[in-house]
């Protein structure tokens, strides 16, 4: 997958609160589908659907243990998404921080004009 498409998939995956909760749970260690389904009022197939989305985005992977197939977090992919976010955020922060500085200048100039 191309980098931008991959990020699209990551962001789409993170847009859902249940999937974010699953990610948060996996951040503290791998877990089976049954374990992941526990905190949610949701059927196992519904949870599996969410897991498939996360898997396609590369955010989680499956362990090898035959029966349990525990899911685990792919932290690197999450970090990539965060870096991308940071760029966007920095762009607007930068704009508005320059505006802050400009406004300080304008205020100072007004104080000097009687």
């Amino acid at each position: 997958m191309q980098a931008t498409h991959r990020l699209d998939a990551v962001f789409a995956a993170l847009a859902d609160p249940t999937r974010r909760a699953i990610i948060a749970r996996l951040a503290s260690g791998q877990a089976s589908v049954t374990e992941l389904a526990e905190p949610f009022a949701m059927s196992q197939p519904a949870i599996s659907k969410h897991l498939k989305v996360l898997e396609r985005a590369g955010l989680i992977s499956r362990g090898r243990e035959a029966q349990r197939r525990p899911r685990r977090l792919e932290a690197k992919r999450l970090e990539e998404a965060d870096q991308w976010l940071e760029r966007y955020r920095r762009l607007w922060e930068a704009n508005y921080q320059r505006l802050d500085a400009l406004l300080d200048d304008l205020k100072a100039k007004e104080r000097n004009v009687p």
Partner: protein, 165 residues
Amino acid sequence: MKNALTITPSGDRDLVMTRVFDAPRRLVYDAHTKPELVRQWLGGLPGWSMPVCEMDVRVGGKYRWVWKSERDGTMMGMGGVYGEVKAPERLVSTEKFDEAWYPGESLNTLVLVEQGGRTTLTQTMRYESREAREAVLKSGMEEGVVASFDRLEEVLAATANANPR
């Protein structure tokens, strides 16, 4: 303390940005309507200049902004028409990029509210359709990202704690 910027989707077609500035709104309004001030802050990308910044701020008046990459000469232009001009509290304009990647144009409404010498800026961008907003979100303001940004930060913090390097 730094003033926080929030960006959230609203309804079907809107994106809403809010930010507080430690200045009276008269000045914030000037900074959005006087070309010599606008070009001092708007643009964001390091290594880009703003060779064109023309603004005829009156109802029906046009504006045009062009940025240029100093590295490879790439140009990025956009412009629109002012629909409402109510100094120093409200400015409504259309916005369309020269090489728009989403259908139609957006209708941007800037609202400034002053309280105790500080100004709250609210910028609402209304797109032609839900699909157009999606396209914008996908390119630079992914909806999920915006909606979940704070949550994502929490998740990342949890990840960092769980996997200390």
